[in-house]
Symmetry: C2
Subunit: 312 residues, 2 copies
């Protein structure tokens, strides 16, 4: 099912690999063939598509425009293929997800497991990275669905849903704070805390609040892994900060306690966005998973709001 000109595919491969010879290796063709197709494309467009550096190729402005078009074509071709396949009852394909770490503890594994239980032929690729990298993966067409902190997103992405979760302190069962219902930042800073490094969005949520306090915070542990911070908290090393999404299992076991943060009477929100390339129609099997993801996150948001009503 390759009814698109080879030039399209070659261009796409060159853009991804950043080099003609590398693209040729991936495509299993001679590099001369790839080179010629690119030259032919540039001749037809009437403008160079790549800047030739000694170390490889970089897209020009026109090249980026063509890349956008080619991505639209290839992604829509994927959707067409899945549409045809689903006619004969074969629901198969790969859902590619890029997301931040908060989801890896329970949300994503639960969802994927349950989805695979129903649709065995659908496979998954997941990549965990920072929020801005998630958005970039989507823009570059390397992922189908992205979950990231809801910052400003580029116009070529569409925010499918926005869910807000309370940021809270996470402490071991035996921690002096564990009996409280909510905590303030000051109360936490009286104990050793496990701080997020700037690459985690939690840092940017808490830093402005910490800056407002008069006291200098206790010397603390710093980390860039939510998983690690959670495990440290479980071992009683200190107070960690994150949303309830990441401590589902351990809090059910009773090892960890989640205490919603109370900042001068109002909650501290962590906004989670679900993103998709705007200029694109998802294949049926991808869209199906997306719907479940949105529903599940909505459900968790609702449950959390019920458990910790945003009192003032």
């Amino acid at each position: 099912m390759r009814f698109h000109s080879p030039a399209i595919q070659y261009f796409h491969a060159v853009r991804r690999t950043g080099s003609i010879r590398a693209a040729a290796r991936v495509l299993n063709v001679a590099s001369s063939a790839v080179s010629r197709q690119i030259l032919k494309l540039e001749q037809e467009v009437g403008s160079p598509l790549f800047e030739r550096n000694a170390r490889g190729l970089t897209l020009t402005t026109v090249g980026e425009m063509l890349a956008r078009h080619v991505m639209n074509v290839l992604q829509d071709l994927d959707r067409f293929r899945s549409d045809v396949a689903s006619l004969s009852g074969a629901w198969s394909g790969t859902v590619s997800i890029a997301c931040i770490e908060s989801l890896t503890e329970s949300v994503l594994p639960d969802l994927i497991a349950s989805h695979r239980g129903r649709a065995r032929r659908v496979s998954f690729t997941t990549e965990v990275k920072g929020s801005s990298d998630v958005l970039e993966s989507l823009s570059r067409g390397e992922a189908d669905i992205g979950i990231a902190m809801a910052l400003r997103h580029p116009p070529d992405l569409r925010q499918v849903a926005l869910k807000r979760f309370r940021l809270g302190a996470v402490v071991a069962r035996e921690h002096p704070l564990a009996r409280r219902k909510t905590v303030t930042l000051e109360q936490c800073l009286a104990f050793p805390v496990i701080n997020a490094l700037p690459e985690l969005s939690i840092y940017h949520l808490l830093q402005p609040l910490i800056a407002q306090l008069s006291e200098t915070p206790e010397p603390a542990i710093q980390a860039n892994s939510i998983d690690l911070m959670r495990e440290l908290a479980a071992r009683g090393v200190g107070v960690a900060f994150q949303t309830q999404l990441g401590i589902n299992r351990l809090s059910r076991d009773g090892q960890l306690v989640f205490l919603p943060l109370d900042n001068a009477g109002s909650p501290v929100w962590s906004d989670l966005g679900i993103y998709v390339r705007a200029e694109r129609t998802l294949p049926a099997y991808t869209d199906s998973f997306l719907q479940e993801l949105v529903r599940e996150l909505g459900e968790r948001e609702r449950r959390e709001n019920a458990a910790y009503p945003p009192t003032s």
Copy 2:
């Protein structure tokens, strides 16, 4: 700039013309070439794309799926072309509009004239037809922007905006009703009326109301042209019904009077929708006109609401 496989274009032409030989004439190639490309496509997809009738070809289900993909590709190619062209400052292209008759009197000619004044290189194609035909034109990719009565629209279209206008009676200056501020349907039916035929949406707006009345309406003139009905009303032949959009010029001349309909104390709304194919990004020059169209219709809606506040 033809970097897409000929099969794509041939398929598109065959779908539009409904025949291989007709497509070949349009494409200036031998019919055998077209036939072969179609056969090759069907072989690659693994399923027939057309049903061969004696009189030509009809799309199969898989064929319609491919048609959707091909339309997405070709329309996005158009956008890419315009993006590249706008880099060199050349804003040129053709905006294709399908709309219902209500817009032809002032909205559309005003907008097109003013837009052409600013962007000389942008040309227009407009086709006036019934609401359902407008939507179909859009779905088939024969128009870029559609304006129709806001009924239920197929899922492959996106409603960019929804504007509501009051339906009213239109009478000549000398008509006995002309002095009133508003009129009820009963008051109108006391005079000869110019009725819309079922092909016009006005018919479907008024028919349910007329059916509720006890009296049998006066024998009346029936027509399927808003233009004709307006001119008949201007000549004092009877009372016509339409929105204020269509009588801009003649009411400014004082020849015609617009009287908002009052149906048991509430207005009768005529909902106008602006539509675009959902799976598509418009070229810059088309989007620019679309924005103006939405703004202008919003402006008229606002002005009309100010002139005839929806009293109860």
